[in-house]
């Protein structure tokens, strides 16, 4: 007879765990991991150099030329590249990358909000109509199997014809971001403990009250999981979207340019990739911060 959804252990009372030490520990462990990866990078390079980029084990010889300085630059050279001029008589690389990163970020943010809104509305429609869910969800899933590289040029052409070329990159980014929001939000809206829903029925609550007072708050942790995925995906989408756009600014364009000159100067491409990674992490961190403010009941319980 007991409801299958018994989630709260009787008499199990969680005390608030100390918070500060765990934050410090996270920071410390991430620094250690980064240090270990740097050591591995440089260690592999040094080792490969010491064996002349060819390691012979028994009969077979392994080619280690991947680790030479023209393929895989030293970390110091990558960091150094930031302060060197990006082109002859040009501004230093970091200034040029920062300008391009901001441009890409702005497109990613617009794409994130467009995609997020579309994903959210689709999830609410699907949660309330089984017919729509059955009819449309397969296409939503299928949309993500189409390579974004195939869609991007089409979007650029369409938006160009519509006279809104500056929106082509955000729309390509939105194409990547709406999907996780739809899937996670839908799950959050519909995976409600049965008695929580029966409680609403016992009050003869309408669909709007059930949505606002039960489904949405219940879905918030999942929505934020989706938004964190979407934040990083929107940066990727914006970078890819820039490639066929004909636009001259953006990290995607910088990556394209520096990969053309990779043989002359590998560190600049690596520096650009590092910048793109930082951009994604920054966006992710902002969403995680908002989550801590909004999902307070969980933040307190879980921290």
């Amino acid at each position: 007879m007991a409801a299958a959804s018994e989630r709260i252990e009787p008499n199990a009372r969680a005390e608030r765990p100390p918070r500060d030490s765990s934050g410090m520990r996270t920071l410390l462990s991430s620094i250690l991991i980064i240090a270990a990866l740097c050591l591995l990078w440089e260690g592999l390079k040094n080792f490969s150099k010491s064996v002349d980029y060819a390691l012979t084990v028994g009969e077979t010889t392994i080619d280690l030329s991947l680790f030479n300085d023209t393929q895989l630059p030293h970390l110091g050279d990558i960091l150094g590249a930031f302060s060197e001029p990006s082109q002859r008589n040009g501004p230093p690389l970091y200034a040029m990358l920062l300008e391009n990163a901001l441009y890409t970020l702005w497109a990613a943010v617009r794409g994130f909000f467009i995609g997020g809104a579309i994903g959210f509305i689709l999830a609410i429609l699907f949660a309330h109509s089984r017919l729509l869910q059955r009819g449309l969800l397969p296409y939503v899933v299928a949309s993500q199997t189409v390579p974004i590289l195939a869609i991007a040029p089409m979007v650029v052409i369409w938006m160009g014809r519509a006279g809104a070329l500056e929106w082509s990159v955000p729309i390509i980014a939105a194409y990547l971001t709406f999907f996780p929001v739809t899937i996670y939000t839908l799950r959050g809206l519909t995976s409600i403990p049965p008695t929580a829903l029966e409680l609403m029925q016992s009050y003869a609550a309408g669909w709007w009250d059930i949505l606002v007072k039960l489904r949405l708050p219940n879905a918030l942790p999942q929505i934020f999981t989706a938004l964190k995925i979407s934040a990083t995906a929107s940066v990727v989408g914006a970078i890819i979207g820039e490639l066929p756009s004909g636009i001259q600014t953006g990290l995607g364009i910088a990556i394209l340019n520096f990969s053309r000159y990779y043989n002359q100067s590998p560190p600049r491409l690596f520096a650009t990739i590092l910048m793109a990674g930082l951009l994604g992490i920054l966006f992710f961190a902002v969403i995680a911060g908002v989550e801590r403010l909004v999902v307070r009941w969980r933040a307190e319980a879980a921290s």
Binding site: M1, A3, E6, N11, A196, E198, S202, Y203, D209, N218
Partner: protein, 263 residues
């Protein structure tokens, strides 16, 4: 006294996953008077929770008549005639304790100040006045269930439906909760309680009438009036009459099970 719940020849048949029909309830008839405290007791599968949920219009009967306050169960639910208490407290984890108690009042469009005042009053009634701003996870199981009782009473329904509300609590907490519930019920003389339990002593201690049910198919085996003196307290459990009544219920339960097996 007027009949607040009237049940005639009520049946419920579920179709199981394997396509086999399960007779959860067969030809149950029961009248509950206003102000009564009625317990439904029986082994699992006797349909006691099913019966309670049909009164609440959370599930619909297959056959028979059921009126709540002279209306159909559906109309009674729409008119918010009852408060329901589930076995798990079913508090919304994103709401503080007081916001949980305010929930039904929000849905019923009460004003903000009235909501606050009423919720505060109810939390005092269940002696949780100091826990208003806590989140559910910060409370023990017994405290959570008291919040859920406060929430069920917040809009002053005349009927309280309780589905094994203390089933997940330890014995000590359960006895304390029983006293709490009796105190609240005594404070509201017009209120009717229908209480599902599998504990014999709990049923006898609380009720004015115990309805013993038997399984396969679910039906009423016996009704036992509990004429223990009120107010009841820890001394009540030591009365000869208490022992006599609990053994009567136990006997009825045993016979009821036998009845099911014989068929």
């Amino acid at each position: 006294m007027t009949s607040i719940i009237s049940i005639k020849n009520l049946s419920k048949t579920f179709r199981g996953a394997d396509g086999v029909e399960v007779h959860a309830l067969e030809n149950v008839s029961l009248d509950i008077q206003e102000g009564e405290f009625v317990s439904l007791i029986g082994p699992s599968g006797c349909g006691k929770s099913t019966l309670l949920r049909m009164i609440a219009d959370l599930i619909q009967p297959t056959n028979g008549q059921l009126t709540v306050n002279g209306k159909t169960a559906q109309q009674a639910r729409k008119d918010r005639e009852y408060g329901f208490v589930f076995q798990n407290a079913t508090l919304y984890e994103w709401r503080t304790v007081i916001k949980n108690v305010e929930l039904p009042l929000e849905i019923m469009k009460h004003g903000k100040e009235e909501r606050r005042a009423r919720a505060r009053e109810m939390l005092k009634l269940v002696e949780l006045g100091d826990f208003e701003e806590k989140y559910p996870w910060q409370l023990s199981g017994g405290m959570q269930q008291r919040v859920s009782i406060a929430r069920a009473l917040a809009f002053q329904p005349r009927l309280l439906l309780m589905d094994e509300p203390f089933g997940a609590l330890d014995e000590m907490t359960r006895e304390r909760m029983n006293n709490e519930l009796l105190r609240i019920w005594t404070a509201m003389p017009e209120m009717t309680v229908v209480f599902v339990t599998h504990s014999i002593s709990e049923a006898v201690y609380l009720s004015s009438r115990v309805v013993v049910m038997s399984p396969r198919p679910g039906r009423i085996a016996e009704m036992i009036d509990i004429d223990l003196p009120r107010p009841r307290g820890s001394a009540t459990r030591d009365l000869d009459q208490f022992f006599h009544l609990t053994s009567r219920v136990r006997h009825a339960l045993r016979q009821g099970v036998g009845l099911g097996i014989d068929e």
